[in-house]
């Protein structure tokens, strides 16, 4: 049984200087009232820091140690913070002190990596060695199940992990749950009996080798036993390596989450660089298009002049055409080719013809030949002018140039953005993040390879077991002599192992059903929805809400998740060999008044020691006193001294 006695803080978060609170003996609820940003979540983090050296912020992101030193104290020169947790466990008194201070090499610490957190653990007044301290903290409260004792209503994702067995944390959490439920005692016994069985089998093989009748089978069996040992050793190593790698993967994910901003800057920069490269290709294409279109650009400038010239030339063409036609007619009349005038149809006399001949110029300006030549020249120029006008298309050129300009502006803008990002990225941060990503990819690949290895080795072990079984059966038919006693020993070990194996499976199922029943009971007490029948549990202790018609509620709101998570916490406390306090921050989340009332009523039944972190509007003190009555053991207030200084005051 784990009980918290007191918590001492020094310059931790909003809590400036040395501050402390103690919890009363006996069962009940202690309530801490504090408005937003006064330090309620910081108190929860104080427990986390003391026990595990971690501080978690919004969205499960780790909080930098540098940011946890009380700001006012830091401005006065403080460079460290400390949390001391006094508790009792299994009848012994413990004192756990964890201190965060700058690393020796950091003259001016500015970030998380400039700090180091050290701790020591006392039991009964004696300081334990680091190795022993680590083992005992792990026993007092394994980190994987801390979420069931340090409940943060804003981190509900952690409970959803249980629903999905394929997450990295899911199996680890369910193993840890089984530990609090006491399963390891049985599973360890089962493993011991397995070892005894393996040993017995080996002795059968050796005995069989000693008898000529059974020597061949004995040799085969011995060989299979040796192979089994090798495969078992391989499997053990694979699983150990997998555990380490999975832990490393989670740690890298934590680290990457801390550097999320840097990562997102890098991603943005890389994306922008890609876009710039694409745009530069587009710009070049636009330039090529413009080059093709600029050939007649000179005539686009002269469009008005060309148009005026075309008009003038057309007029001149018309005049010349008239003159040429008149001259041709007069010439024809003068030469007597036509007897009558084509216009008035009167006949033309010889005198008239002579007069006409006198009027017509023979050569030079005004002569029919000169006019004809000029007409030809005017027409050639008109053709040239009209061709150039047709080619001149300033509107099309305008569109092309505008488009190019727009693309160039885009390139410029994105390049400027890349430069700005570059200023925010420090060389080290970028390299570290790239290194982390490479390591993450490598770890993921190694995990996949190891999982394949585990699967393959497990299959080989199964095949090995089948062969061994076959040979055992053959040996059993040839019973006699020394083999008989070894065979009986082996049979006994086998039956005991099977008994424990079945017992573990049965007990596990019973435990799960008990947790399911208790969680359902709590859920029905906490929920206001009458159509909900209860909860159903899966193999990894994930809970699904069941409708009274027997169907599952597959998707649930944050509010429902909240209630389910609280139900699981309460159910585990009920069934655990490890029972302890529950510290609850944001107990109500986004729950409505109905749910809140129910939670307050049920709280004292959930655990022997409850610490509640709320604000007064969430749970008015009068209401808490009325609902909890004699089980309300103490009230504390987180009182504002300044924006960065909160004091713990007992009411």
């Amino acid at each position: 049984m784990l009980r918290i006695k007191s918590l001492h803080l020094k310059d931790f978060g909003a809590f400036k200087g040395e501050q402390a609170f103690d919890l009363p003996d006996g069962e009940g609820v202690t309530v801490f009232y504090g408005e937003n940003m006064r330090g309620k979540t910081t108190l929860l983090n104080a427990f986390r820091f003391a026990l595990f050296g971690k501080i978690i912020g919004r969205g499960r992101r780790p909080v930098s140690f540098h940011d946890m030193i009380n700001w006012e104290a830091r401005s006065e020169g403080a460079r460290s913070f400390e949390v001391q947790l006094n508790l009792t466990y299994a009848g012994a008194d413990y004192r756990l002190i964890r201190t965060c201070r700058p690393k020796g090499s950091a003259s001016t610490p500015i970030g998380h990596n400039d700090y180091v957190a050290d701790y020591y653990l006392e039991r009964g007044g004696h300081i334990l060695s680091p190795q022993q301290a680590a083992v005992e903290i792990e026993q007092i409260l394994p980190e994987q199940i801390a979420r069931f004792f340090l409940f943060d209503g804003e981190l509900l994702q952690e409970y959803e992990d249980l629903l999905h067995g394929d997450t990295d944390m899911g199996p680890k959490i369910s193993q840890a749950i089984e530990r609090i439920l006491g399963l390891p005692t049985l599973t360890k016994s089962r493993e011991s009996l397995k070892a005894a069985l393996d040993k017995a089998e080996e002795r059968v093989a050796v005995a069989a080798q000693g008898d000529q009748k059974t020597r061949e089978f004995g040799n085969q069996l011995q060989s299979l036993v040796e192979e089994r040992e090798v495969l078992t050793g391989d499997l053990f190593r694979h699983e150990k390596d997998l555990e380490i790698l999975r832990g490393r993967k989670v740690a890298i994910e934590d680290d990457m989450r801390r550097r999320e901003r840097m990562a997102s800057l890098l991603d943005k920069r890389d994306r922008l660089a890609g876009e710039v490269t694409t745009l530069e290709g587009v710009v070049q294409q636009k330039k090529d298009d413009i080059t093709k279109a600029m050939s007649p650009a000179w005539s686009a400038i002269l469009r008005p002049q060309l148009t005026a010239a075309v008009a003038a030339h057309r007029t001149r063409e018309a005049d010349l055409q008239s003159a040429v036609t008149r001259a041709q007619v007069l010439h024809s009349l003068a030469e007597g080719h036509d007897a009558s005038c084509p216009t008035c149809l009167q006949s033309v006399s010889s005198d008239a013809q002579a007069k006409i001949r006198a009027l017509l110029p023979d050569v030079g300006v005004g002569s029919p030949d000169a006019d004809q030549r000029e007409l030809g020249s005017v027409r050639r120029r008109l053709d040239a002018l009209e061709n150039q006008l047709a080619l001149a298309n300033p509107d099309a050129l305008r569109v092309l140039w505008s488009d190019l300009e727009a693309r160039r502006r885009e390139v410029y803008s994105k390049t400027a953005e890349i430069e700005e990002i570059g200023k925010q990225l420090t060389g080290d941060a970028e390299d570290e993040l790239k290194g982390l990503r490479r390591e993450y990819d490598s770890v993921v690949r190694q995990i996949a390879a190891l999982e394949d290895g585990v699967k393959a080795t497990t299959e080989k072990l199964a095949t090995n077991a089948n062969y061994r079984d076959t040979i055992q059966k053959r040996l059993d038919k040839l019973a006699g002599g020394q083999m008989e006693s070894e065979r009986r020993r082996r049979d006994l070990a086998s039956r005991l192992h099977d008994l424990f194996k079945d017992s573990v499976d049965v007990y596990r199922d019973q435990l799960r059903h008990r947790v399911e029943a208790d969680a359902s009971r709590y859920f029905k007490q906490l929920t206001t929805e009458q159509d909900y029948e209860g909860l159903r549990i899966n193999d990894s202790y994930g809970l699904t809400i069941m409708h009274r018609d027997g169907s599952d509620i597959p998707i649930r709101s944050a509010g429902a998740e909240h209630v389910v998570a609280l139900s699981l916490v309460a159910a585990l406390q009920n069934n655990a060999q490890l029972r302890g306090p529950i510290v609850i921050d944001s107990p109500f989340g986004r729950l409505d008044g109905g749910h809140r009332s129910k939670i307050v009523e049920v709280l004292p039944d959930m655990a022997d020691q409850i610490i509640l972190l709320v604000y007064e509007e969430e749970l008015p003190p009068a209401r808490a006193r009325e609902a909890l009555k004699g089980r309300l053991r103490a009230e504390w207030a987180l009182e504002r001294q300044s924006a960065r200084h909160t004091e713990l005051v007992k009411r």
Binding site: K287, T291, M294, A300, I301, L302, A309, R398
Partner: protein, 122 residues
Amino acid sequence: MALEKTVDKKTIGITTVNERVLASLAAEGLFASEIEAAKFAMAHAIDKDVTRGTTEGAGTKWNVGSVDSDGALKAVVEALFPDESQPYRLIEHLMNEGLRLFANSGALPPDVAGVLFATKAT
């Protein structure tokens, strides 16, 4: 001298001073060649009502066949300047005057788009 001037030019040249402007104009205007850029400069000079004349010291850069392979340029200049007896000499002069206008308008490179789209629509 008077006899030489009655025969039109067979080559077209750009003055040494204008060569740099021409190169800058060709690059900035994305022209396929300096010939196209030179035609553009010529058109700019016509548009700005540059006085007709002769450019001395232009040297030889292109022959007229390269500049005006189909005679269209000559036909257009003759249409715009009907009483000009030496259209290619005039073309050479207008090209150089146009480049001088670009150089005098401010720093290089020339504002090709500005000239192109400042044209009055008809």
